[in-house]
């Protein structure tokens, strides 16, 4: 790095160590990754391949998956399940939250009875009920994931509505003649960060449970793929699928959600 020497001369006591520290962090992070993969490789040499395949065969299987449309198709199916469940849970959760907000008489029913019940209900329980009712198919998967997500979205949207600053809404109303609060300029901007946070947690939880749902109750999707690989003791495929999932979820979080959240926070909260 050519930059490191220049500030080092200008302010030897301050800039140089901090720059070194910045570099050190990257070195340690990537070093950790390298050491981890090396340890994996080393341990894979010692145990049979059906227990732990090495990094190289897993990488080869991943490359094979990328050229072969099977994984893409299953990944799309899983994404479809997640998207459908997210939309449905937002509809249900949004309806519940808005009803509780707008109709005070129903608040006790929704906040103190329905939401805690849904929140305490086991995800595995929904899954097995869905299998009993709908059989092994995508309806089961979407039903189970939707019901697992619904308490999360209800609570998140409800918190957003509770945080709506009443004074600000009042002020907004006093500035215009219309009796309804100005929806586009006031309500939407105030709710967007909460809605987005709800979407983000929902997406994370959905990915965690959709594989379970597909494994036990689905006939397409990555979870289904995982199940067939498990039955055939195809450890390489299991590892390849897990690594793909980790990459996919970690990338959407770091590349898509986190920057977007930062932008939304800047724009709507302090803008």
């Amino acid at each position: 790095m050519p930059v490191s020497s220049a500030p080092g001369e200008a302010a030897p006591s301050e800039a140089a160590p901090s720059l070194w520290r910045l570099m050190r962090r990257d070195i340690v992070l990537h070093g950790f990754t390298v050491v981890f993969v090396a340890a994996w490789w080393g341990y894979a040499q010692l145990v049979p391949a059906y227990l732990l395949p090495g990094p190289w065969p897993v990488l080869q299987r991943m490359a094979q998956f990328l050229t072969d449309p099977t994984l893409t198709v299953q990944l799309m199916a899983s994404l479809g399940h997640v998207a459908a469940a997210l939309v449905l849970s937002f509809l249900i959760g949004g309806t519940l939250a808005v009803t509780a907000h707008a109709v005070p008489v129903l608040r006790l029913l929704i906040d103190a009875r329905l939401t805690p019940f849904l929140n305490a209900f086991s995800g595995i329980g929904w899954l097995f009920l869905a299998i009993l009712w709908f059989g092994i198919n995508s309806v089961t998967v979407v039903f189970a994931v939707t019901l697992i997500l619904t308490p999360f979205t209800t609570i998140n949207i409800r918190t957003g509505l509770n945080e709506l600053d009443r004074d600000l809404v009042e002020l907004g109303r006093s500035l215009t003649r219309s009796r309804l609060p100005p929806i586009r300029t006031l309500l939407v901007p105030m709710l967007v960060p909460y809605g987005f946070a709800a979407l983000r947690t929902g997406f994370g939880v959905a990915w965690k449970v959709v594989l379970t749902a597909e494994l036990f109750g689905g006939n397409v999707g990555v979870g289904y793929l995982l199940n067939t690989a498990r039955q055939e003791f195809d450890t390489e495929t299991i590892f390849a699928v897990i690594v793909f999932i980790i990459l996919f979820v970690a990338l959407t979080e770091t590349v898509l959600f986190r920057p977007l959240q930062r932008r939304l926070d800047r724009r709507y909260r302090h803008g």
Partner: protein, 263 residues
């Protein structure tokens, strides 16, 4: 979490209570009348479910499964909390480890599919109590870790410094100052973890275990015993509810009051 808003006294509170309990009653009635027209393996009636729920809690051969699941999840939660605190302390001691923990370990743990742990755990260690606990720890750990790290971030450094100025012994300062300051975050982490463990980490028992509620669930499903599936769901709801109301929420309230006095 949305805490239930206190019902206003008088007519309004009475109406909303009436509506809330009335809706539940209506729901049970609806369930009862629908179940009458359907075979029991599709939708058992409320009475069937309640009776199965009763035998689940009374019959020793069934109750043992509830106990086994309870013991496993409790062990997993204790291990997870200890692990999370240990990792959090290490991250506090070295900012390089903190970077590795947050940008590598937590990121991967957080994106790791729970079923993946279940499949790998059974493959590596076979079917045993240890395996089930391992899978549950792996699933719950990221949630605890996030809460603990957040707690360490929020702790008032000045207060800790003051604690250190009172005693030279690090352990004493840790138990008397750091731990109480951390307590609200630990408890909120434990609350989330308890929920996740009972609702999702039960998947660990679905892969070949011979005991536990997960095993009962698989059995019930393969025998098309819908009443049992319902009853197990009910048991889990009751346990999660009771743990939260009787243990975790009072704990959270006690410690947040403590915290409020000191700051």
């Amino acid at each position: 979490m949305v805490e239930p808003q206190a019902a206003r006294p008088g007519a309004a509170g009475f109406t909303s209570h009436g509506l809330a309990e009335g809706a539940i009653l209506l729901f049970v009635l609806l369930w009862w009348s629908t179940a009458r027209g359907l075979p029991a393996f599709v939708l058992p009636g409320p009475w069937d479910v309640l009776r199965t729920f009763g035998t689940l809690l009374v019959e020793p051969s069934l109750l043992i499964h509830v106990g086994v699941s309870f013991a496993r999840i409790t062990a997993a939660l204790v291990l997870t909390m200890a692990l999370a605190i240990g990792l959090g302390l290490a991250a506090r001691a070295s900012d390089l480890f903190a970077a590795v923990l947050e940008a590598r370990i937590l990121l991967v743990l957080n994106s790791f599919p729970g079923v993946g742990w279940a499949i790998l755990g059974v493959m590596w260690f076979g079917v045993s109590n240890g395996t089930v606990i391992f899978i549950q720890v792996a699933i719950v750990l990221p949630f605890c870790l996030i809460a603990v790290l957040e707690g360490f971030r929020q702790i008032d450094a000045d207060l800790e410094e003051m604690g250190r100025s009172f005693t030279r012994r690090r352990w004493r300062s840790f138990t008397r100052v750091t731990l109480p300051l951390l307590a609200p975050f630990l408890i909120s982490g434990l609350r989330v973890a308890t929920g996740i463990a009972w609702k999702i980490a039960l998947v660990a028992e679905l892969f070949g275990a011979q005991t536990g509620l997960g095993y009962l669930l698989v059995q019930a499903q393969s025998n098309a015993n819908a009443a049992m599936v319902f009853a197990i769901c009910l048991v889990i709801v009751v346990i999660v509810f009771a743990l939260d109301r009787l243990l975790l929420r009072p704990l959270a309230q006690a410690y947040s009051r403590n915290q409020g006095g000191s700051s």
